[in-house]
């Protein structure tokens, strides 16, 4: 595998293999010294054109635990602001000797465009509303860890919120379906894509109808600008219809899991403290982020090297 730009290009086998590899990485992360020399001499460049804390730190931590060198490209101080084109920027960093770019950009398709301009591997850390494959891997791994199931056959996963503008939703719907889950999306029609009849999902506009049958309840972040764009009248009304309240938590199955990709909008989609939810996996999602991204980096850059040894 050369790049990880979408869940699609990973395929079911690639997805399962990466989740298995993540187990090894999780084991490394349990060690007193959580570091191995597997990617010594390799260089990973973070190219974040959009704000991100957890994803960027998670990738950088993952690279360091595999002994790769990292460089961070900070857009606000970069020559992009001096009119340098993205292609020139990528070419310049490539010339410095980079094995992988971790790319986040507000625009759809940037990871594919960049991969035409460099020989390095491209990892998509989020492109517009399109894909965020490592988040989907994290979420699959987290469900797998909690349920001890490697396949999600028969599992009812409900994704709630702004599906239309969500790269997390697009990657997760693909990944969850690949593993056999039944996915339901819940949102007002204004927050659904214009035509999703070809997606492997059920659609429901009423959260309360699906709460009792959900095995996984996946809450998405609602951005406040959706009001000014006319997608929802007020945050209050959205929260009323689609927010996770104490009352709704009470309707969940005992075994049901609650997830959120973060950062949470407290008082909007999360009307309660996640720690009040018995089976909230939100902290596990963050913790697993490092292991999953180690697996991805090792898979793309670790050809020939082994995971053994101490750094």
């Amino acid at each position: 595998m050369k790049h990880l730009r979408s869940i699609d290009e990973l395929g079911v086998d690639g997805l399962v293999a990466l989740l298995q590899l993540t187990d090894h990485m999780a084991e490394i992360n349990q060690r007193p010294v959580p570091k191995v020399p597997a990617l010594r001499g390799r260089t990973v460049a973070s190219l974040f054109f959009e704000d991100s804390t957890r994803t960027r730190l998670s990738f950088e931590t993952a690279a360091k635990r595999l002994s790769a060198d990292t460089m961070t490209f900070n857009v606000s101080t970069s020559s992009v602001n001096k009119g340098e084109s993205l292609r020139d920027t990528v070419a310049t960093i490539t010339d410095m000797g980079v094995d992988a770019f971790v790319v986040r950009h507000k625009s759809v398709g940037i990871p594919w465009q960049i991969s035409q301009w460099t020989k390095a591997s491209i990892i998509n850390a989020g492109d517009g509303a399109h894909q965020h494959p490592t988040q989907a891997l994290v979420d699959c791994y987290t469900i797998r860890e909690a349920t001890h199931e490697s396949r999600f056959d028969g599992m009812q996963i409900t994704i709630v919120g702004d599906i239309k503008h969500s790269r997390v939703a697009r990657s997760n719907i693909q990944a969850f379906s690949m593993l056999g889950a039944k996915v339901t999306v819940v949102a007002p029609p204004t927050l659904l894509p214009p035509d999703l009849s070809h997606w492997p999902v059920q659609i429901n506009h009423h959260l309360d109808e699906v709460i009792p049958t959900s095995d996984v309840l996946y809450m998405l972040r609602l951005q406040s600008e959706r009001m000014s764009q006319g997608h929802v009248p007020t945050l209050r009304e959205y929260s009323e219809q689609y927010g996770l309240t104490q009352k709704r938590v009470a309707q969940l199955k005992d075994s049901a899991i609650v997830m959120h990709p973060g950062p949470m909008n407290r008082g909007v989609e999360m009307q309660i403290d996640p720690s009040d939810v018995k089976n909230s996996l939100i902290h596990r999602q963050v913790a697993n982020g490092v292991s999953v991204r180690m697996a991805v980096l090792f898979e793309l850059l670790g050809s020939g090297s082994s995971l053994g040894g101490q750094a």
Binding site: S107, G128, P194
Partner: protein, 426 residues
């Protein structure tokens, strides 16, 4: 004084005839149509169609203002290589074509290049701002017959009504880019399943159709004539068909790319496929072709829109819309429609010449006494579009690397060959 030229061995296609004959041209005029003619310059046309030079209703020549993308000279050369003898220059230049000074400059630059007639269109509104009317009477007196704010439609219905009323008094035609801007904010591609998958903001068909509908009704009310630019949806074709049935003075065009390429190409993430209106569905293509066959759509126009390479190396949402079209139009049309050669010539030459009101010089029959604006093409020649060989200053052709059938062999502009054997002569 141009030399005597003979076109030898081709098939002359006119509206009401199709004959094998040579053609002799002197001083820019066809002087003889007969067999076995001879002259100083002989152009072999065996196996080729000899017909009137093409007229493009929709070319962005970028000069003045964006000469990095194209100049009137390079655009004219691209046009000549595509068989064109006249190009209607779109007014979204910088400064825009809303004053005599700019109109005259564009026309003069066209004459300096001397490869095609460059026919400047005028803006409907001052600066294409959609706020106040451009000095249409002044521009009409300077010879402008087609007015448009192409790129942005005239959004304000009241202003469009006034523009139509004013245009009627001047006897000129307004051309509308049909797009209700509120429905396409940030839009990158057709609103469809592919757009759902890609998470890109959609450009819904109804944004075009609502404007087509509004302007049909404004034409019905005012009686002024209107030309619809680059129609792209099934329902737009139906609306225009019904309007024509009602006898309204409406004409319409479609681009070669909207007849040949679909929305799914955006999944390559290559901004070369970003265009406005966007590439649509296979079903829309079928409807557009039906519109060509039954005369609902009068013309094929390129919407030739050069952009420098760096602009098309930006992301899909940021890259400007538009593709090259002049050099590939014929091949794309021949390969993507069930049209007879005669229909193709009607759509590329006779009808657009009439719409642009330049049919005294262009879109004429190949006959004695007629001006020698002629193109000669091999309808069966298979060729591949080579980026290195494009005459345009830009390279944003969606057909690069693709194979087309049908290619211009020679073009004559006012009796002088501008293209011989596929090579530009200057």
């Amino acid at each position: 004084m141009s030399k005597t030229v003979v076109i030898k061995g081709g098939t002359i296609v006119n509206r009401d005839s199709e004959i094998k004959s040579d053609v002799r041209i002197e001083n820019g005029v066809i002087v003889e149509v007969a067999k076995n003619l001879k002259a100083d310059v002989q152009l072999d046309a065996s196996g080729c169609i000899v017909t009137s030079g093409f007229v493009d209703l929709h070319a962005h020549l970028r000069e003045p203002g964006r000469e990095e993308a194209e100049t009137i000279e390079t655009g004219s050369r691209a046009g000549a290589l595509g068989g064109y003898t006249a190009l209607v220059a779109m007014p979204n230049t910088d400064p825009p074509q809303d004053s005599i000074a700019v109109i005259d400059f564009v026309r003069e630059q066209g004459k300096r290049a001397g490869l095609v007639d460059v026919v400047p269109s005028g803006c409907i509104t001052l600066g294409r701002q959609g706020e106040t009317l451009a000095p249409m009477a002044e521009l009409a007196h300077a010879g402008v017959t087609l007015f448009t704010d192409d790129g942005v439609g005239v959004q304000n219905a009241s202003l469009m009504r006034r523009a139509l009323e004013y245009a009627k008094g001047l006897g000129v035609t307004l051309a509308q880019h049909c797009e209700v801007a509120e429905l396409t904010e940030g839009a990158v591609m057709n609103e469809c399943q592919c757009c759902t998958d890609l998470g890109l903001p959609g450009w819904p068909a109804i944004a075009e159709e609502l404007m087509v509908f509004r302007d049909i009704e404004l034409v019905r009310m005012t009686g002024a004539s209107m030309h619809f630019l680059h129609l792209s949806t099934e329902r737009s074709v139906e609306l225009v068909r019904a309007a024509k049935r009602d006898g309204l003075p409406i004409t319409a065009e479609v681009t070669p790319h909207h007849l040949s390429l679909t929305q799914e190409l955006l999944a390559t993430y290559d901004p070369v496929f970003k265009v406005n209106p966007p590439l649509r569905s296979a079903q829309d293509i079928r409807a557009l072709k039906a519109g060509l066959l039954d005369g609902t759509i009068d013309a094929i126009a390129t919407d030739h829109a050069p952009h420098p390479r760096r602009d098309k190396e930006m992301s899909l949402d940021v890259a400007p819309p538009g593709m090259l079209g002049l050099e590939t139009a014929l091949g794309v049309v021949l390969g993507n429609s069930e049209l007879e050669i005669k229909d193709v010539v009607a759509l590329l030459s006779w009808n657009p010449a009439r719409i642009a009101r330049i049919d005294a010089e262009h879109g004429r029959p190949v006959a004695i006494g007629e001006p020698a604006n002629i193109c000669i093409f091999d309808p069966d020649l298979v060729w591949s579009v080579d980026l290195e060989r494009l005459a345009s200053k830009s390279i944003n052709s969606p057909y690069v690397g693709r194979t087309l059938r049908g290619k211009i062999r020679h073009t004559l502009f006012k009796g002088t060959p501008t293209v011989i054997d596929g090579q530009a002569q200057k």
